[in-house]
Symmetry: C2
Subunit: 297 residues, 2 copies
Protein backbone atom coordinates (compact mmCIF):
# COMPACT_ATOMS: atom_id res chain seq x y z
CA UNK A 1 0.00 0.00 0.00
CA UNK A 2 1.16 3.50 -0.78
CA UNK A 3 0.05 6.63 1.06
CA UNK A 4 0.40 10.03 -0.59
CA UNK A 5 0.02 12.87 1.89
CA UNK A 6 -1.67 15.48 -0.31
CA UNK A 7 -2.44 17.86 2.54
CA UNK A 8 -1.41 17.96 6.20
CA UNK A 9 -2.31 21.42 7.57
CA UNK A 10 -4.71 22.29 10.36
CA UNK A 11 -7.76 24.47 9.61
CA UNK A 12 -5.69 27.32 8.17
CA UNK A 13 -3.38 26.32 5.30
CA UNK A 14 0.20 27.54 5.25
CA UNK A 15 2.61 28.21 2.40
CA UNK A 16 3.98 24.69 2.98
CA UNK A 17 0.87 22.74 3.91
CA UNK A 18 -2.49 22.35 2.20
CA UNK A 19 -5.72 21.25 3.90
CA UNK A 20 -6.21 17.59 4.83
CA UNK A 21 -6.26 14.91 2.12
CA UNK A 22 -4.51 11.53 2.04
CA UNK A 23 -4.56 9.10 -0.86
CA UNK A 24 -4.24 5.37 -0.19
CA UNK A 25 -3.25 3.42 -3.29
CA UNK A 26 -3.54 -0.36 -3.39
CA UNK A 27 -4.00 -2.70 -6.31
CA UNK A 28 -6.15 -0.51 -8.57
CA UNK A 29 -7.91 1.20 -5.67
CA UNK A 30 -7.25 4.87 -4.93
CA UNK A 31 -9.00 5.79 -1.73
CA UNK A 32 -8.99 9.46 -0.84
CA UNK A 33 -9.44 10.23 2.86
CA UNK A 34 -10.83 13.78 3.15
CA UNK A 35 -10.63 16.43 0.47
CA UNK A 36 -9.75 19.85 1.84
CA UNK A 37 -9.79 22.96 -0.36
CA UNK A 38 -7.09 22.79 -3.02
CA UNK A 39 -6.85 18.98 -3.10
CA UNK A 40 -7.36 18.76 -6.86
CA UNK A 41 -4.28 20.93 -7.30
CA UNK A 42 -2.28 18.80 -4.84
CA UNK A 43 -3.06 15.83 -7.14
CA UNK A 44 -1.46 17.80 -9.99
CA UNK A 45 1.59 18.56 -7.87
CA UNK A 46 1.88 14.89 -6.95
CA UNK A 47 1.64 13.96 -10.63
CA UNK A 48 -1.45 11.80 -10.02
CA UNK A 49 -4.63 12.13 -12.06
CA UNK A 50 -7.65 12.66 -9.78
CA UNK A 51 -9.63 10.47 -12.20
CA UNK A 52 -7.89 7.51 -10.57
CA UNK A 53 -9.88 8.01 -7.34
CA UNK A 54 -12.18 5.05 -6.66
CA UNK A 55 -13.52 5.93 -3.20
CA UNK A 56 -13.77 9.07 -1.10
CA UNK A 57 -13.90 8.72 2.69
CA UNK A 58 -15.04 11.83 4.54
CA UNK A 59 -14.20 12.08 8.24
CA UNK A 60 -16.46 15.09 8.90
CA UNK A 61 -18.00 18.13 7.25
CA UNK A 62 -15.76 20.89 8.57
CA UNK A 63 -14.52 23.12 5.76
CA UNK A 64 -10.84 22.25 6.09
CA UNK A 65 -11.67 18.58 5.35
CA UNK A 66 -14.27 18.90 2.58
CA UNK A 67 -14.04 22.20 0.68
CA UNK A 68 -12.14 20.52 -2.14
CA UNK A 69 -15.12 18.28 -2.93
CA UNK A 70 -17.12 20.58 -5.25
CA UNK A 71 -14.04 21.40 -7.34
CA UNK A 72 -13.01 17.76 -7.44
CA UNK A 73 -16.46 16.63 -8.63
CA UNK A 74 -16.50 19.29 -11.35
CA UNK A 75 -12.99 18.48 -12.50
CA UNK A 76 -13.67 14.75 -12.62
CA UNK A 77 -16.65 15.43 -14.90
CA UNK A 78 -14.60 17.73 -17.13
CA UNK A 79 -11.88 15.08 -17.33
CA UNK A 80 -14.30 12.34 -18.39
CA UNK A 81 -14.45 10.31 -15.16
CA UNK A 82 -16.27 7.17 -16.28
CA UNK A 83 -16.78 5.24 -13.04
CA UNK A 84 -19.18 5.59 -10.14
CA UNK A 85 -17.47 7.47 -7.34
CA UNK A 86 -18.22 5.85 -3.99
CA UNK A 87 -18.47 8.43 -1.22
CA UNK A 88 -18.63 7.39 2.43
CA UNK A 89 -19.06 9.66 5.41
CA UNK A 90 -20.71 10.17 8.78
CA UNK A 91 -24.39 10.99 9.35
CA UNK A 92 -25.45 13.98 7.25
CA UNK A 93 -23.17 13.16 4.32
CA UNK A 94 -26.01 12.45 1.87
CA UNK A 95 -27.61 15.83 2.53
CA UNK A 96 -24.27 17.66 2.30
CA UNK A 97 -23.35 16.03 -1.02
CA UNK A 98 -26.81 16.84 -2.38
CA UNK A 99 -26.46 20.49 -1.37
CA UNK A 100 -22.89 20.77 -2.65
CA UNK A 101 -24.09 19.49 -6.02
CA UNK A 102 -27.08 21.80 -6.02
CA UNK A 103 -25.03 24.93 -5.31
CA UNK A 104 -21.82 24.23 -7.17
CA UNK A 105 -21.99 21.40 -9.63
CA UNK A 106 -23.85 22.21 -12.81
CA UNK A 107 -26.20 19.51 -14.13
CA UNK A 108 -23.98 18.97 -17.20
CA UNK A 109 -20.92 18.40 -15.03
CA UNK A 110 -22.16 15.56 -12.85
CA UNK A 111 -20.63 12.13 -12.47
CA UNK A 112 -22.37 9.05 -11.06
CA UNK A 113 -22.06 9.00 -7.27
CA UNK A 114 -22.97 6.42 -4.67
CA UNK A 115 -23.15 8.09 -1.27
CA UNK A 116 -23.35 6.12 1.98
CA UNK A 117 -23.46 7.18 5.62
CA UNK A 118 -21.38 4.53 7.35
CA UNK A 119 -20.49 3.00 10.69
CA UNK A 120 -18.85 -0.37 11.33
CA UNK A 121 -17.51 -2.50 8.44
CA UNK A 122 -18.94 -0.86 5.32
CA UNK A 123 -16.92 -2.27 2.47
CA UNK A 124 -15.69 -5.80 1.97
CA UNK A 125 -13.43 -6.28 -1.03
CA UNK A 126 -11.58 -9.34 -2.27
CA UNK A 127 -8.44 -8.60 -0.31
CA UNK A 128 -9.28 -5.61 1.89
CA UNK A 129 -12.08 -4.14 3.91
CA UNK A 130 -12.98 -0.71 5.29
CA UNK A 131 -14.37 0.17 8.71
CA UNK A 132 -15.72 3.35 10.30
CA UNK A 133 -16.16 4.34 13.92
CA UNK A 134 -17.85 7.50 15.26
CA UNK A 135 -15.54 9.98 16.98
CA UNK A 136 -16.34 13.10 19.05
CA UNK A 137 -15.88 16.44 17.32
CA UNK A 138 -18.98 18.64 17.69
CA UNK A 139 -20.18 17.54 14.27
CA UNK A 140 -20.66 13.88 13.21
CA UNK A 141 -17.19 12.49 12.61
CA UNK A 142 -15.77 9.10 11.63
CA UNK A 143 -12.38 7.50 12.09
CA UNK A 144 -11.55 4.93 9.39
CA UNK A 145 -9.53 1.75 9.05
CA UNK A 146 -8.29 0.13 5.87
CA UNK A 147 -7.38 -3.51 6.44
CA UNK A 148 -5.61 -5.58 3.80
CA UNK A 149 -6.59 -9.12 4.63
CA UNK A 150 -3.84 -11.57 5.52
CA UNK A 151 -3.45 -14.61 3.26
CA UNK A 152 -4.68 -18.08 4.23
CA UNK A 153 -1.55 -20.07 5.14
CA UNK A 154 -1.09 -23.85 5.53
CA UNK A 155 -0.22 -24.64 9.16
CA UNK A 156 2.93 -26.74 8.70
CA UNK A 157 2.98 -27.81 12.33
CA UNK A 158 -0.43 -29.36 11.95
CA UNK A 159 0.56 -31.12 8.71
CA UNK A 160 3.44 -32.65 10.66
CA UNK A 161 1.14 -33.59 13.54
CA UNK A 162 -1.26 -35.44 11.23
CA UNK A 163 1.60 -36.82 9.06
CA UNK A 164 0.22 -35.16 5.91
CA UNK A 165 2.92 -34.64 3.24
CA UNK A 166 3.12 -31.52 1.05
CA UNK A 167 1.49 -31.81 -2.37
CA UNK A 168 -0.90 -30.19 -4.87
CA UNK A 169 -3.94 -31.36 -2.89
CA UNK A 170 -3.14 -28.79 -0.18
CA UNK A 171 -4.05 -25.91 -2.54
CA UNK A 172 -7.71 -26.84 -1.93
CA UNK A 173 -7.26 -25.83 1.69
CA UNK A 174 -6.32 -22.28 0.70
CA UNK A 175 -9.66 -22.06 -1.11
CA UNK A 176 -11.46 -23.13 2.04
CA UNK A 177 -12.16 -26.68 0.79
CA UNK A 178 -11.71 -29.87 2.81
CA UNK A 179 -9.29 -32.63 1.80
CA UNK A 180 -9.28 -36.38 2.38
CA UNK A 181 -5.95 -38.00 3.24
CA UNK A 182 -5.50 -41.63 4.17
CA UNK A 183 -9.28 -41.96 4.34
CA UNK A 184 -9.65 -39.18 6.85
CA UNK A 185 -11.34 -35.82 6.17
CA UNK A 186 -9.64 -32.57 7.21
CA UNK A 187 -11.45 -29.23 6.93
CA UNK A 188 -9.59 -26.12 5.79
CA UNK A 189 -10.02 -24.77 9.31
CA UNK A 190 -8.14 -27.77 10.74
CA UNK A 191 -5.01 -27.18 8.70
CA UNK A 192 -4.82 -23.46 7.89
CA UNK A 193 -4.62 -20.15 9.66
CA UNK A 194 -5.27 -16.55 8.61
CA UNK A 195 -2.12 -14.52 8.39
CA UNK A 196 -2.42 -11.16 10.18
CA UNK A 197 -3.57 -8.44 7.79
CA UNK A 198 -2.12 -4.97 7.32
CA UNK A 199 -4.08 -2.22 9.03
CA UNK A 200 -3.93 1.49 8.36
CA UNK A 201 -6.00 3.75 10.62
CA UNK A 202 -7.06 7.38 10.10
CA UNK A 203 -8.08 9.38 13.18
CA UNK A 204 -8.97 13.03 12.42
CA UNK A 205 -10.54 15.17 13.93
CA UNK A 206 -11.64 14.15 17.43
CA UNK A 207 -11.20 14.67 21.13
CA UNK A 208 -9.94 11.77 23.19
CA UNK A 209 -12.70 9.14 23.51
CA UNK A 210 -13.12 5.50 24.48
CA UNK A 211 -13.79 4.34 20.91
CA UNK A 212 -10.35 5.15 19.55
CA UNK A 213 -8.00 2.56 21.06
CA UNK A 214 -10.10 -0.57 20.36
CA UNK A 215 -10.80 0.72 16.84
CA UNK A 216 -7.18 1.34 15.83
CA UNK A 217 -5.88 -1.75 17.78
CA UNK A 218 -2.79 -3.32 16.17
CA UNK A 219 -2.49 -0.79 13.35
CA UNK A 220 0.57 -1.15 11.17
CA UNK A 221 0.25 2.57 10.61
CA UNK A 222 -1.85 4.98 12.63
CA UNK A 223 -2.31 8.41 11.06
CA UNK A 224 -3.61 10.77 13.71
CA UNK A 225 -4.43 14.42 13.98
CA UNK A 226 -2.30 16.33 16.48
CA UNK A 227 -3.48 19.90 16.51
CA UNK A 228 -2.10 20.86 19.93
CA UNK A 229 0.62 19.91 22.39
CA UNK A 230 0.10 18.68 25.92
CA UNK A 231 0.91 22.04 27.51
CA UNK A 232 -2.43 23.34 26.19
CA UNK A 233 -4.41 20.09 26.42
CA UNK A 234 -7.35 22.04 27.87
CA UNK A 235 -7.54 24.01 24.64
CA UNK A 236 -7.41 20.74 22.70
CA UNK A 237 -10.30 19.43 24.80
CA UNK A 238 -12.27 22.64 24.30
CA UNK A 239 -11.83 22.51 20.50
CA UNK A 240 -12.32 18.72 20.47
CA UNK A 241 -8.89 17.87 19.12
CA UNK A 242 -5.95 15.69 20.17
CA UNK A 243 -2.52 16.64 21.47
CA UNK A 244 0.69 15.01 20.22
CA UNK A 245 1.00 13.23 23.57
CA UNK A 246 -2.53 11.86 23.36
CA UNK A 247 -1.95 10.61 19.80
CA UNK A 248 1.23 8.88 20.97
CA UNK A 249 -0.57 7.31 23.93
CA UNK A 250 -3.22 5.99 21.54
CA UNK A 251 -0.47 4.50 19.35
CA UNK A 252 1.17 2.91 22.38
CA UNK A 253 -1.96 1.53 24.04
CA UNK A 254 -3.35 0.22 20.77
CA UNK A 255 0.00 -1.53 20.14
CA UNK A 256 0.28 0.12 16.75
CA UNK A 257 3.59 -0.18 14.90
CA UNK A 258 3.98 3.34 13.55
CA UNK A 259 2.41 6.75 14.15
CA UNK A 260 2.29 9.62 11.66
CA UNK A 261 1.05 12.95 12.98
CA UNK A 262 -0.86 15.30 10.69
CA UNK A 263 -3.14 18.35 11.12
CA UNK A 264 -0.34 19.95 13.14
CA UNK A 265 -1.30 23.35 14.53
CA UNK A 266 0.32 26.02 12.39
CA UNK A 267 1.63 27.64 15.58
CA UNK A 268 4.24 24.81 15.67
CA UNK A 269 5.35 25.15 12.03
CA UNK A 270 8.49 27.04 13.04
CA UNK A 271 9.62 24.30 15.42
CA UNK A 272 7.97 21.02 14.57
CA UNK A 273 10.32 19.19 16.94
CA UNK A 274 8.19 20.44 19.84
CA UNK A 275 5.39 18.24 18.49
CA UNK A 276 7.53 15.33 17.35
CA UNK A 277 9.56 15.08 20.54
CA UNK A 278 6.43 15.13 22.69
CA UNK A 279 5.08 12.16 20.74
CA UNK A 280 8.41 10.30 20.65
CA UNK A 281 8.74 10.46 24.45
CA UNK A 282 5.64 8.27 24.67
CA UNK A 283 5.85 6.32 21.39
CA UNK A 284 9.25 6.04 19.75
CA UNK A 285 8.14 5.24 16.20
CA UNK A 286 6.38 8.58 15.68
CA UNK A 287 6.96 10.67 12.57
CA UNK A 288 5.90 13.86 10.82
CA UNK A 289 5.40 14.21 7.08
CA UNK A 290 5.37 17.03 4.58
CA UNK A 291 2.81 17.60 1.86
CA UNK A 292 3.37 15.26 -1.11
CA UNK A 293 5.44 12.80 0.95
CA UNK A 294 4.83 9.18 0.01
CA UNK A 295 4.92 6.41 2.63
CA UNK A 296 4.87 2.73 1.70
CA UNK A 297 3.31 0.26 4.15
CA UNK B 1 -1.71 50.52 -7.44
CA UNK B 2 -0.27 47.06 -6.95
CA UNK B 3 -1.68 43.89 -8.51
CA UNK B 4 -0.84 40.52 -6.98
CA UNK B 5 -1.65 37.66 -9.33
CA UNK B 6 -2.73 35.01 -6.81
CA UNK B 7 -4.02 32.58 -9.43
CA UNK B 8 -3.82 32.49 -13.23
CA UNK B 9 -4.89 29.00 -14.38
CA UNK B 10 -7.83 28.04 -16.57
CA UNK B 11 -10.56 25.75 -15.15
CA UNK B 12 -8.13 22.98 -14.23
CA UNK B 13 -5.28 24.09 -11.94
CA UNK B 14 -1.72 22.99 -12.70
CA UNK B 15 1.26 22.39 -10.43
CA UNK B 16 2.36 25.96 -11.29
CA UNK B 17 -0.94 27.82 -11.51
CA UNK B 18 -3.85 28.10 -9.10
CA UNK B 19 -7.39 29.07 -10.04
CA UNK B 20 -8.22 32.70 -10.83
CA UNK B 21 -7.75 35.40 -8.17
CA UNK B 22 -6.15 38.83 -8.47
CA UNK B 23 -5.65 41.26 -5.62
CA UNK B 24 -5.61 45.01 -6.33
CA UNK B 25 -4.04 47.01 -3.52
CA UNK B 26 -4.42 50.78 -3.35
CA UNK B 27 -4.31 53.12 -0.40
CA UNK B 28 -5.82 50.85 2.27
CA UNK B 29 -8.12 49.09 -0.16
CA UNK B 30 -7.51 45.43 -1.04
CA UNK B 31 -9.89 44.45 -3.78
CA UNK B 32 -9.96 40.76 -4.66
CA UNK B 33 -11.20 39.97 -8.16
CA UNK B 34 -12.48 36.36 -8.16
CA UNK B 35 -11.60 33.75 -5.60
CA UNK B 36 -10.94 30.32 -7.13
CA UNK B 37 -10.38 27.24 -4.99
CA UNK B 38 -7.17 27.51 -2.99
CA UNK B 39 -7.05 31.32 -2.96
CA UNK B 40 -6.71 31.56 0.83
CA UNK B 41 -3.53 29.47 0.57
CA UNK B 42 -2.22 31.66 -2.26
CA UNK B 43 -2.56 34.61 0.15
CA UNK B 44 -0.30 32.72 2.58
CA UNK B 45 2.22 32.05 -0.18
CA UNK B 46 2.18 35.73 -1.13
CA UNK B 47 2.73 36.68 2.53
CA UNK B 48 -0.48 38.73 2.62
CA UNK B 49 -3.13 38.28 5.31
CA UNK B 50 -6.56 37.65 3.75
CA UNK B 51 -8.02 39.77 6.57
CA UNK B 52 -6.79 42.79 4.59
CA UNK B 53 -9.44 42.21 1.89
CA UNK B 54 -11.93 45.09 1.75
CA UNK B 55 -13.97 44.16 -1.34
CA UNK B 56 -14.57 40.99 -3.35
CA UNK B 57 -15.55 41.32 -7.00
CA UNK B 58 -16.96 38.17 -8.58
CA UNK B 59 -16.96 37.93 -12.37
CA UNK B 60 -19.20 34.84 -12.53
CA UNK B 61 -20.23 31.76 -10.58
CA UNK B 62 -18.25 29.07 -12.36
CA UNK B 63 -16.35 26.90 -9.92
CA UNK B 64 -12.86 27.89 -11.05
CA UNK B 65 -13.62 31.52 -10.13
CA UNK B 66 -15.54 31.13 -6.85
CA UNK B 67 -14.79 27.85 -5.06
CA UNK B 68 -12.36 29.60 -2.73
CA UNK B 69 -15.16 31.75 -1.29
CA UNK B 70 -16.53 29.40 1.42
CA UNK B 71 -13.04 28.68 2.77
CA UNK B 72 -12.13 32.36 2.64
CA UNK B 73 -15.26 33.37 4.57
CA UNK B 74 -14.61 30.72 7.23
CA UNK B 75 -10.96 31.64 7.57
CA UNK B 76 -11.73 35.36 7.84
CA UNK B 77 -14.11 34.59 10.74
CA UNK B 78 -11.53 32.37 12.44
CA UNK B 79 -8.93 35.11 12.03
CA UNK B 80 -11.14 37.76 13.61
CA UNK B 81 -12.07 39.79 10.51
CA UNK B 82 -13.71 42.85 12.02
CA UNK B 83 -14.97 44.76 8.99
CA UNK B 84 -17.96 44.33 6.69
CA UNK B 85 -16.85 42.49 3.57
CA UNK B 86 -18.39 44.07 0.47
CA UNK B 87 -19.15 41.46 -2.18
CA UNK B 88 -20.15 42.50 -5.70
CA UNK B 89 -21.14 40.19 -8.51
CA UNK B 90 -23.48 39.62 -11.45
CA UNK B 91 -27.15 38.66 -11.20
CA UNK B 92 -27.63 35.65 -8.92
CA UNK B 93 -24.78 36.55 -6.56
CA UNK B 94 -27.05 37.17 -3.54
CA UNK B 95 -28.63 33.73 -3.84
CA UNK B 96 -25.26 32.04 -4.36
CA UNK B 97 -23.69 33.70 -1.32
CA UNK B 98 -26.73 32.78 0.76
CA UNK B 99 -26.48 29.14 -0.31
CA UNK B 100 -22.71 28.99 0.15
CA UNK B 101 -23.18 30.24 3.70
CA UNK B 102 -26.02 27.82 4.36
CA UNK B 103 -24.07 24.76 3.20
CA UNK B 104 -20.55 25.58 4.29
CA UNK B 105 -20.26 28.42 6.76
CA UNK B 106 -21.34 27.56 10.27
CA UNK B 107 -23.41 30.16 12.10
CA UNK B 108 -20.59 30.81 14.60
CA UNK B 109 -18.12 31.48 11.77
CA UNK B 110 -19.92 34.26 9.96
CA UNK B 111 -18.64 37.73 9.26
CA UNK B 112 -20.76 40.76 8.28
CA UNK B 113 -21.29 40.80 4.51
CA UNK B 114 -22.85 43.34 2.18
CA UNK B 115 -23.71 41.65 -1.09
CA UNK B 116 -24.69 43.60 -4.21
CA UNK B 117 -25.55 42.53 -7.74
CA UNK B 118 -24.00 45.23 -9.88
CA UNK B 119 -23.92 46.79 -13.33
CA UNK B 120 -22.59 50.21 -14.31
CA UNK B 121 -20.74 52.39 -11.78
CA UNK B 122 -21.38 50.71 -8.44
CA UNK B 123 -18.82 52.21 -6.08
CA UNK B 124 -17.62 55.78 -5.87
CA UNK B 125 -14.78 56.35 -3.43
CA UNK B 126 -12.81 59.47 -2.65
CA UNK B 127 -10.15 58.81 -5.24
CA UNK B 128 -11.35 55.80 -7.20
CA UNK B 129 -14.50 54.22 -8.58
CA UNK B 130 -15.56 50.77 -9.72
CA UNK B 131 -17.63 49.83 -12.75
CA UNK B 132 -19.19 46.60 -14.01
CA UNK B 133 -20.39 45.57 -17.45
CA UNK B 134 -22.23 42.36 -18.39
CA UNK B 135 -20.27 39.95 -20.59
CA UNK B 136 -21.41 36.79 -22.43
CA UNK B 137 -20.47 33.48 -20.87
CA UNK B 138 -23.48 31.17 -20.55
CA UNK B 139 -23.93 32.24 -16.94
CA UNK B 140 -24.28 35.89 -15.79
CA UNK B 141 -20.81 37.40 -15.98
CA UNK B 142 -19.33 40.84 -15.32
CA UNK B 143 -16.19 42.55 -16.52
CA UNK B 144 -14.85 45.16 -14.06
CA UNK B 145 -12.94 48.41 -14.17
CA UNK B 146 -11.08 50.08 -11.33
CA UNK B 147 -10.46 53.76 -12.07
CA UNK B 148 -8.22 55.89 -9.90
CA UNK B 149 -9.49 59.40 -10.49
CA UNK B 150 -7.13 61.93 -11.98
CA UNK B 151 -6.38 65.03 -9.92
CA UNK B 152 -7.91 68.44 -10.65
CA UNK B 153 -5.17 70.53 -12.26
CA UNK B 154 -4.98 74.30 -12.81
CA UNK B 155 -4.97 75.06 -16.55
CA UNK B 156 -1.91 77.30 -16.84
CA UNK B 157 -2.70 78.27 -20.42
CA UNK B 158 -6.03 79.69 -19.30
CA UNK B 159 -4.41 81.60 -16.40
CA UNK B 160 -2.14 83.20 -18.99
CA UNK B 161 -5.05 83.93 -21.30
CA UNK B 162 -6.94 85.75 -18.55
CA UNK B 163 -3.74 87.29 -17.10
CA UNK B 164 -4.31 85.68 -13.69
CA UNK B 165 -1.07 85.32 -11.69
CA UNK B 166 -0.25 82.28 -9.56
CA UNK B 167 -1.09 82.60 -5.86
CA UNK B 168 -2.78 80.94 -2.83
CA UNK B 169 -6.23 81.95 -4.12
CA UNK B 170 -5.93 79.32 -6.87
CA UNK B 171 -6.17 76.48 -4.32
CA UNK B 172 -9.93 77.25 -4.12
CA UNK B 173 -10.24 76.16 -7.73
CA UNK B 174 -8.97 72.66 -6.90
CA UNK B 175 -11.80 72.36 -4.39
CA UNK B 176 -14.31 73.30 -7.08
CA UNK B 177 -14.84 76.83 -5.76
CA UNK B 178 -14.99 80.01 -7.87
CA UNK B 179 -12.54 82.89 -7.50
CA UNK B 180 -12.83 86.60 -8.12
CA UNK B 181 -9.87 88.34 -9.79
CA UNK B 182 -9.82 91.94 -10.87
CA UNK B 183 -13.56 92.11 -10.16
CA UNK B 184 -14.34 89.24 -12.48
CA UNK B 185 -15.67 85.84 -11.37
CA UNK B 186 -14.08 82.67 -12.69
CA UNK B 187 -15.63 79.26 -11.94
CA UNK B 188 -13.42 76.24 -11.20
CA UNK B 189 -14.57 74.79 -14.51
CA UNK B 190 -13.21 77.85 -16.38
CA UNK B 191 -9.67 77.42 -15.08
CA UNK B 192 -9.13 73.73 -14.28
CA UNK B 193 -9.17 70.37 -16.02
CA UNK B 194 -9.42 66.80 -14.78
CA UNK B 195 -6.20 64.88 -15.24
CA UNK B 196 -6.75 61.49 -16.88
CA UNK B 197 -7.22 58.79 -14.25
CA UNK B 198 -5.57 55.39 -14.12
CA UNK B 199 -7.77 52.56 -15.35
CA UNK B 200 -7.35 48.86 -14.73
CA UNK B 201 -9.78 46.52 -16.48
CA UNK B 202 -10.58 42.88 -15.76
CA UNK B 203 -12.18 40.82 -18.54
CA UNK B 204 -12.74 37.15 -17.62
CA UNK B 205 -14.54 34.94 -18.74
CA UNK B 206 -16.41 35.92 -21.90
CA UNK B 207 -16.80 35.39 -25.60
CA UNK B 208 -16.13 38.33 -27.89
CA UNK B 209 -18.97 40.85 -27.57
CA UNK B 210 -19.72 44.47 -28.43
CA UNK B 211 -19.63 45.61 -24.80
CA UNK B 212 -15.95 44.93 -24.24
CA UNK B 213 -14.08 47.60 -26.22
CA UNK B 214 -16.06 50.65 -25.07
CA UNK B 215 -15.95 49.36 -21.49
CA UNK B 216 -12.18 48.86 -21.31
CA UNK B 217 -11.45 51.98 -23.48
CA UNK B 218 -8.13 53.66 -22.60
CA UNK B 219 -7.12 51.16 -19.91
CA UNK B 220 -3.67 51.65 -18.48
CA UNK B 221 -3.73 47.93 -17.86
CA UNK B 222 -6.13 45.42 -19.37
CA UNK B 223 -6.13 41.98 -17.74
CA UNK B 224 -7.89 39.58 -20.05
CA UNK B 225 -8.61 35.89 -20.14
CA UNK B 226 -7.02 34.05 -23.04
CA UNK B 227 -8.07 30.44 -22.82
CA UNK B 228 -7.46 29.51 -26.47
CA UNK B 229 -5.38 30.55 -29.47
CA UNK B 230 -6.70 31.73 -32.80
CA UNK B 231 -6.16 28.38 -34.51
CA UNK B 232 -9.08 26.99 -32.51
CA UNK B 233 -11.18 30.16 -32.27
CA UNK B 234 -14.29 28.11 -33.04
CA UNK B 235 -13.70 26.15 -29.84
CA UNK B 236 -13.24 29.44 -27.99
CA UNK B 237 -16.57 30.62 -29.37
CA UNK B 238 -18.27 27.36 -28.46
CA UNK B 239 -17.00 27.52 -24.87
CA UNK B 240 -17.59 31.31 -24.71
CA UNK B 241 -13.99 32.27 -24.16
CA UNK B 242 -11.43 34.55 -25.84
CA UNK B 243 -8.35 33.71 -27.86
CA UNK B 244 -5.00 35.45 -27.37
CA UNK B 245 -5.49 37.23 -30.69
CA UNK B 246 -8.95 38.48 -29.68
CA UNK B 247 -7.63 39.74 -26.35
CA UNK B 248 -4.85 41.59 -28.19
CA UNK B 249 -7.32 43.09 -30.67
CA UNK B 250 -9.41 44.33 -27.75
CA UNK B 251 -6.30 45.92 -26.23
CA UNK B 252 -5.42 47.56 -29.55
CA UNK B 253 -8.88 48.80 -30.48
CA UNK B 254 -9.56 50.09 -26.96
CA UNK B 255 -6.23 51.96 -27.09
CA UNK B 256 -5.15 50.35 -23.86
CA UNK B 257 -1.54 50.75 -22.78
CA UNK B 258 -0.71 47.26 -21.56
CA UNK B 259 -2.26 43.80 -21.79
CA UNK B 260 -1.73 40.94 -19.35
CA UNK B 261 -3.12 37.56 -20.38
CA UNK B 262 -4.38 35.16 -17.72
CA UNK B 263 -6.59 32.02 -17.64
CA UNK B 264 -4.26 30.51 -20.23
CA UNK B 265 -5.39 27.07 -21.38
CA UNK B 266 -3.24 24.47 -19.65
CA UNK B 267 -2.60 22.89 -23.07
CA UNK B 268 -0.18 25.80 -23.73
CA UNK B 269 1.70 25.51 -20.43
CA UNK B 270 4.61 23.73 -22.12
CA UNK B 271 5.08 26.47 -24.68
CA UNK B 272 3.56 29.71 -23.48
CA UNK B 273 5.26 31.61 -26.29
CA UNK B 274 2.58 30.28 -28.65
CA UNK B 275 0.07 32.38 -26.71
CA UNK B 276 2.30 35.38 -26.07
CA UNK B 277 3.58 35.67 -29.64
CA UNK B 278 0.06 35.51 -31.05
CA UNK B 279 -0.94 38.43 -28.82
CA UNK B 280 2.26 40.41 -29.48
CA UNK B 281 1.76 40.25 -33.25
CA UNK B 282 -1.40 42.34 -32.76
CA UNK B 283 -0.52 44.30 -29.62
CA UNK B 284 3.14 44.70 -28.78
CA UNK B 285 2.81 45.49 -25.07
CA UNK B 286 1.34 42.09 -24.18
CA UNK B 287 2.66 40.03 -21.28
CA UNK B 288 2.12 36.82 -19.35
CA UNK B 289 2.48 36.47 -15.59
CA UNK B 290 3.11 33.65 -13.16
CA UNK B 291 1.23 33.02 -9.93
CA UNK B 292 2.35 35.39 -7.15
CA UNK B 293 3.82 37.91 -9.61
CA UNK B 294 3.32 41.51 -8.55
CA UNK B 295 2.72 44.27 -11.10
CA UNK B 296 2.76 47.96 -10.19
CA UNK B 297 0.62 50.36 -12.22
Amino acid sequence: MKLTFLGTSDWIPTAKRNHTAILLTHDGENILVDCGEGTQRQFRKAGISPTKITRLLITHWHGDHVLGIPGLLQSLALQGYNKTLHIYGPKGTKKFIEEVQKVFVFQEHRIPLKVEEVSGRFFEGKDFYLEAKPMTHGTPCNAYCFVKKGQIRIDKKKLKKYHIPSGPILSNLKQGKSIIYNGKKYSAKDLTYNEKGTKISFVFDTSLNINIIPFVKDSDLLISESTFIDEIREKAKEHKHLTAKQAAEIAKKSESKKLILIHIGQRYERDLNVVLNEAKKVFKNSALVNDLDVVEV
